[in-house]
């Protein structure tokens, strides 16, 4: 397979937190690249910096130093408005919990990334969101308020929403962390399936080795660096 330029490259990434006197170095010279269409597990003990790395890759947090390029854009010095637009167009998120806007229906939640960009909910977006809900098996919950969905259903709606703007990268931080085994399996199957059809890159942090086993690549964090990689 001919690998063209990677989707994203980070080099010598450092992230320190300064809380008054105490300074914690969470990422300490991390370098990494992700290709298009990859399906990657992010592993590491609790507190190793998985969520921190996902936040930086998702342009929600700025690193202390290092380089971060994605799709040819240097994202280190970018202005907040530009990062927001970049995030909206190229990155999807699935968080562990409290993902959805509870006062909106499943469909409205899925449409959000498109609607906030265009300033309104268009019929085209409504159709796409309906298709995505169908894909995640929730066509019948389309007009349910998000607050009335089960934990597993919420995560699947979140997955659909992450895909709404056809992102290049989906970042999932322990997406199955709050789910029972059966729901977790459904969500993972869904992610794998979507990765196979869309060619979107997925980076999924998890503590679950069986989940990690389903991924084609594993990244392990230890002491702020990559511990080991399996390709």
């Amino acid at each position: 397979m001919i690998v063209d330029t990677p989707l994203l490259i980070i080099t010598d990434l450092v992230k320190e937190f300064n809380d008054g006197e105490i300074s914690t170095t969470v990422l300490n010279g991390l370098s990494l690249s992700l290709d298009r269409g990859e399906f990657v597990a992010l592993l590491g003990p609790s507190g190793s910096g998985k969520s921190t790395l996902l936040s930086i890759l998702g342009t929600l947090m700025r690193p202390t130093s290092g380089r971060f390029e994605m799709l040819g854009f240097n994202l280190i010095g970018a202005r907040d408005v530009d990062l927001t637009e970049f995030r909206n167009q190229h990155i999807g998120f699935v968080f562990q919990a409290h993902n959805l806007l509870p006062d909106f229906t499943a469909l409205e939640n899925v449409m959000f990334p498109a609607a906030t960009r265009k300033g309104r909910e268009t019929p085209v977006d409504r159709r796409r969101a309906t298709e995505l809900l169908d894909k995640v098996g929730l066509a019948d919950r389309r007009d349910f308020p998000a607050s009335k969905l089960s934990g597993g259903q919420k995560q699947r709606v979140a997955v659909a929403r992450a895909l709404m703007n056809s992102p290049d990268l989906v970042l999932a931080d322990e997406p199955t962390g709050n789910l029972d085994r059966e729901s977790a399996r459904r969500v993972m199957d869904l992610l794998i399936d979507l990765n196979g059809t869309d060619g979107t890159t997925f980076l999924i942090s998890t503590h679950d080795e069986t989940i990690a086993g389903q991924c084609r690549r594993e990244i392990r964090l230890l002491d702020g660096r990559l511990a080991r990689e399996r390709h």
Binding site: S55, G58, L60, M61, D80, V81, T84, E85, R87, N88, Q89, F93, F95, Q96, A97, H98, N99, L100, L101, P102, D103, F104, F112, P113, A115, T116, R117, K118, G119, R120, E121, R161, N165, D173, E174, G177, N178
Partner: protein, 401 residues
């Protein structure tokens, strides 16, 4: 914008009880605003009507004559005759100006009067009076004499006098009696009392006599011309402006009522200012209420705001959502408060008809539009802080597991 609107509306609708309470709170503030405006306005109307209702709104006089100066024919000494109170200024050509004055907007009536001082005698009793001579059909043009009769009729034929009730009382006069009047020019006339009026203004009721214009001409030796023209307006607040216009068009000296009643005006201004203070407090309460409610809401929704920001919602969008909520609350509370205010003021009688114990409410002075507009602006202003706080929410900090 449309989408921020949708999100804002959804947020307001999701917590109906809280939104309703907030709008009700704003409405109470607006109600106070409207009520105070109507009350202060009503008080002003009442005071103005009591004091200004029965006087001319604009008085037109002949220009003051300059002191006449002459040179002594032989000696060359300068002899100056100082402006004298004896020297009468009359409007000789008043009639010529009438059409022009009547054509000025807001002028409802113009009456030429011949007036002067005199003494009224009845047997042994004697009292100083102010004699006003008018055409019979203009007797009520300035002061509503005919409408405030306590005895007799308002017909003012030659030989008839209409006298104030206070004067009638102190002199023991009744309709049908004869009195004599000696004018300041020492001319006597005997008149029959045709009516007694009570305008409620003691200076008039205690010493005013209305007579036929021709009677006055004899009494004050003014075969033609008038002492002054009295002008009534449909809106007495416009007096200074109309007076200026009259002066400009006619070249005559026009004095608005405001010039002679500065104390009353100062009192009204002070009253309005104290009303403004109360209204200001009502607005401040609205702003604080809206700001704190929205701030609480941004705090409660910060994880949602974080999610929205992670999904690519801009800061501007988040600001919009909260500003729109503020604006909608202000608008709803403003409309509700002003509407309820108007409805609750409807049963009040006009200030003129207010009984001595009732509140003088001028329903037209409720300043409803101002109340709604200021509340709307105030609520948007109140939303600035919460909205900017919301837009600064850091997604990483609020999206917890």
């Amino acid at each position: 914008m449309t989408y921020s609107f949708k999100v804002a509306l959804r947020y307001l609708a999701s917590n109906r009880a809280q939104t309703a309470l907030l709008i009700a709170g704003v409405a109470v503030g607006v109600y106070i605003f409207v009520f105070m405006s109507a009350l202060i306005g009503g008080l002003a109307v009442l005071l103005l009507n009591r004091t200004v209702g029965n006087i001319a709104h604009v008085t037109i006089q002949a220009p003051d004559r300059d002191p006449v100066s002459l040179y002594g024919r032989d000696s060359g000494t300068l002899v100056a005759i100082l402006k004298s109170v004896q020297q009468r200024t009359t409007l000789q050509s008043a009639a010529a100006f009438l059409p022009a004055i009547e054509a000025i907007p807001n002028v409802t009536s113009v009456a030429g009067v011949v007036a002067g001082n005199g003494f009224l005698t009845k047997g042994e009793a004697i009292a100083p009076v102010i004699v006003t001579g008018v055409e019979p059909d203009q007797v009520s043009a300035i002061a509503n004499v005919a409408g405030n009769l306590v005895a007799g009729s308002g017909d003012l034929t030659i030989g008839i006098a209409l006298i104030g009730s206070g004067l009638a009382k102190t002199m023991g006069l009744q309709v049908g009696q004869r009195v004599s009047i000696r004018s300041e020019r020492n001319i006597d006339a005997t008149l029959l009392i045709g009516g007694v009026f009570s305008l409620g203004v003691s200076s008039v009721d205690d010493g005013a006599i209305y007579v036929h214009l021709r009677t006055a001409r004899v009494l004050f030796e003014l075969p033609d011309g008038v002492s002054r023209l009295e002008v009534k307006l449909d809106d007495l607040r416009l007096a200074p402006e109309v007076a200026r216009r009259i002066a400009n068009t006619t070249g005559l000296k026009s004095i608005p009522w405001t010039e002679k009643n500065e104390q009353l005006l100062n009192g009204l201004v002070a009253q309005a200012r104290s009303g403004d203070v109360i209204k200001g407090f009502a607005l401040v309460t609205i702003v604080i209420g809206v700001a704190s409610a929205l701030l609480l809401s941004t705090y409660r929704r910060q994880s949602e705001i974080g999610i929205m920001r992670a999904m690519g919602a801009t800061r501007r969008f988040v600001v919009g959502v909260f500003m729109i909520q503020g604006g909608l609350i202000g608008l709803a509370g403003g409309l509700l408060g002003a509407g309820l205010g108007y409805l609750s003021l409807l049963p009040f009688p006009l200030p003129e008809a207010t009984s001595s114990t009732g509140l003088p409410i001028a329903i037209g002075e409720g300043a409803y539009g101002t109340a709604i507009l200021l509340t709307f602006i105030g609520a948007i202003f109140a939303a600035i802080w919460p909205a900017s706080a919301a837009s600064r929410v850091d997604p990483v900090k609020v999206i917890g597991p």
